[in-house]
Point group: C2
Chain length 477, copies 2
């Protein structure tokens, strides 16, 4: 069941007004990670709440309490819960989005004011939050506006969950989702979830995303002397913490990306021909990844290997060292205490609970081999499980049909290398299928300078979201 032709027409004919509304939303610098902008996140919540009510959504603002950030106690911005419809004959869909944004300053290298949406001649809508995640939220608003103004009922019952802390760890949201997912809760009866908060694999092909990697993040500290030492006086007389740490960090991953911690790679089965064919079919080349990395540094010339490296295999990255000399110039210091930071992206069936003991035990053994008199401590800073959904579920089938209708092509079925922790929270709390339905393109630069959303993605994407709801309504469970 395609969406009504009037809906498609409505979106097209109101495009300029929708872009103006996006411009209004971008103008509110709702940076959750910057205490000085916390009131702007509240302002953005008020703005969104008012717009949702204006299109007939029954909303409520949920106070999530306080938290401490950079040593300051701050009120958390409210989550917005919304509801339209309670028809027992319709399916109930939960949609999620976030109205906070990453920090942005013109001086970071933006070509334009990040909080003034700029429409470029080629149709790029440039501004912080345009793609992540105000564009998708406003896409839903566009869909709702059509139904409200034309007095048409939605084809499904809708539940909304919008938060203002996604870019800062979604503080308070897990508890809310878990509570409202219970019997009698706000999300009781939800049969599937749709999250529009990621991107196409490339700039050409719409995508549905069915997997996310998990994460486990470690801090490896080697300490020895009571204070930093001068390398002239102490060089070759004492065990140097940096030497020990560099040796340990060098034993975690090889230069081809293979994880050297015994047991970690082994947990993941090797992809067979059939699975490789899925990656082969994706509209992607190694040139795409090299273009987005900005240099010809792909680990393989084979696109399947590169794609599986991101989506299907674990990875280990060395992020840096705290406590060592990190400035410019030449300082001849022996740092007293150095902490190496690294993280492992996890894929099923890996979990932090299963992987962390392997990591700790391996590092302890390798450190023992060094016979150093320094001290080692290993801390896990945070972690999250990977997530994979069933791509043959009716939630995905509906999204495939909707994509075909709007974009006249089959979507890429992708897994993401990163994490969107709330995805797993919804999947586990509700026990239903979760779909990631991206609006933007792979080059949107979500957390970078000159973030943009293409006008075509905003407009066609709004059509896609509406059409998806109609296909959900039509499909057999």
């Amino acid at each position: 069941m395609p969406a009504p032709a009037e809906f498609i027409k409505f979106i097209d004919s109101n495009a300029d007004a929708f872009i103006q509304r996006l411009s209004d939303a971008v103008a509110i610098p709702s940076i959750s990670g910057d205490a000085s902008h916390r009131q702007d996140v509240f302002k953005m919540a008020e703005w969104l709440n008012a717009h949702l009510k204006a299109v007939g959504v029954d909303t409520q603002l949920v106070d999530l309490g306080k938290h401490t950030m950079d040593g300051e106690e701050l009120p958390l911005p409210p989550a917005i819960l919304g509801r339209i419809g309670d028809d027992k004959d319709k399916k109930t869909v939960l949609i999620y989005g976030h109205f906070d944004v990453q920090p942005a300053n013109k001086s970071d290298g933006w070509d334009t004011d990040p909080f003034a949406l700029t429409i470029l001649p080629d149709g790029k809508l440039v501004g912080r939050g345009s793609s992540d995640d105000k564009g998708p939220i406003l896409g839903w608003l566009n869909v709702l506006q059509y139904h409200f103004q034309s007095n048409k009922p939605l084809p499904v019952n809708l539940r909304l969950c919008f938060e203002g802390m996604e870019e800062s760890g979604s503080e308070g949201l897990d508890e809310l989702v878990e509570k409202e997912s219970k019997k009698g809760g706000y999300f009781d009866g939800v049969e599937c979830v749709c999250i529009s908060d990621n991107y196409w694999l490339n700039t050409r092909t719409p995508a549905l995303t069915y997997g996310l990697r998990g994460l486990t993040y470690f801090k490896l500290t080697v300490s020895g002397p009571a204070r930093d030492l001068h390398s002239g006086v102490f060089g070759r007389t004492v065990h140097e913490p940096m030497t020990d740490l560099i040796h340990l960090m060098g034993r975690l991953v090889d230069v081809q990306g293979k994880i050297l911690i015994p047991g970690v790679e082994e947990m993941v089965d090797v992809a067979g021909d059939e699975e490789r064919a899925i990656y082969e079919s994706l509209d992607y080349t190694t040139a795409d990844i090299e273009q987005s990395a900005g240099a010809p540094i792909a680990l393989s010339a084979n696109k399947v290997d590169v794609l599986m490296g991101r989506m299907r295999y674990p990875s280990l990255s060395l992020h840096g060292i705290e406590g060592a000399f990190s400035g410019v110039g030449a300082k001849t210091v022996i740092p007293a205490k150095v902490s190496g930071k690294f993280s492992i992206r996890l894929v099923p069936p890996q979990t932090p609970d299963a992987v962390d003991p392997m990591v700790i035990s391996y590092i302890e053994k390798e450190f023992a081999k060094l016979k150093s008199k320094n001290k080692l401590t290993i801390e896990n800073l945070h972690g999250g499980k990977p997530w994979v959904a069933d791509v043959n579920h009716w939630n995905f089938e509906a999204a495939k049909k909707a994509t075909k209708e709007i974009y006249h092509q089959n979507p890429d079925l992708t897994r993401e290398g990163g994490s969107i922790p709330v995805t797993l929270t919804f999947a586990e709390s509700l026990g239903v299928n979760v779909l990631l339905l991206p609006m933007g393109r792979g080059d949107d630069g979500a957390h970078s300078t000159n973030e943009k959303l293409d006008r075509a993605n905003f407009i066609e994407g709004s059509k896609l979201l509406g059409t998806y709801l109609y296909e959900i309504a039509a499909i057999a469970k």
Copy 2:
């Protein structure tokens, strides 16, 4: 020929006035490395010049021009050249010292105002520059004051060279020394040099120092992506610069301090039993080094190995990484460009000219083995040759006698692990024996918080400097 008994008595009976003068000198915050204190270095030069003239030294201030520091063009403080005596029947001795100091703020952890000399009940004179190097300079002033007030001629001809930029690379000094060392120059006729700007090995035994390690400092840069990447999106798809760099840094030195660059260790012969006996005789235990490092982390339980590790073998220290994540917390970044900093302390016959090509060639070979698509650049940031003097030269013999007279014990004959570049400049420009005659103790904390000079070291040290001149006069060349 010991110094006259009146001289010894004069030093003792004027001790309080000498300490007051040291207090006046410490009160001038002559921090050469801080542009906002540059005028204080000039003030200190004026102060010292006036005090030298008051005790009969014929001085001249030498304008060393300008330099650029932290992007600001600054006038260099003058060097002070001084002269007493031109007697053809006397030996001519050049003494060197510096009147600038390291930065110091109470907030760095000082117990007292660093620029107000504090006399502790145990005799410690606490203040920035007390030991490095205002105490030793004022020691010479004490010697000169005796001879001036008692109208006694010095037993030698004296040439003085005091600078105000030692803590900031001795800008301009090399050129001055080289020029004045030539025939007809200010230092023409100098037969030996005495520098009092280092420390005893321990807190108990006076020392003469006859060697310094050289240095060669490298910056090893691996770059790949055009910008920092997100490890979720790019982990296991591209060659990560940090992974490459850590592997390279891990191949430079083993955890026992052995340098892994082929050819570097091999240049230095292994100490024989006779040479080991010299180190065995030093008043030192591994407990001393562990006390000064603040932890039981000595590479060996054998004091000879520990001492030779500092004094007689090269060392390689890994200082840190520029461009990687170095903050607190957990950031999942793949840094685009990372620069590892390390340096090698050199001992004869190693020189930067000989060692640098070995380092560069080895790292290039190891990088090629990694088969990374990232780019490697290797920069040498600075270097200096090691220095070793003949401990049987009459300059050292005179100092040994003087030490025995004042301290009633034989001095430790030491080599230092660090560098005092001007030492080599004097040795090479003048072609004469250079002696390092330390005034302070091993725990003075020259570049650290709560820098101190013990009252006993200041007073007995002043006696030692004077006595040394009498022994120089008496000894056969």
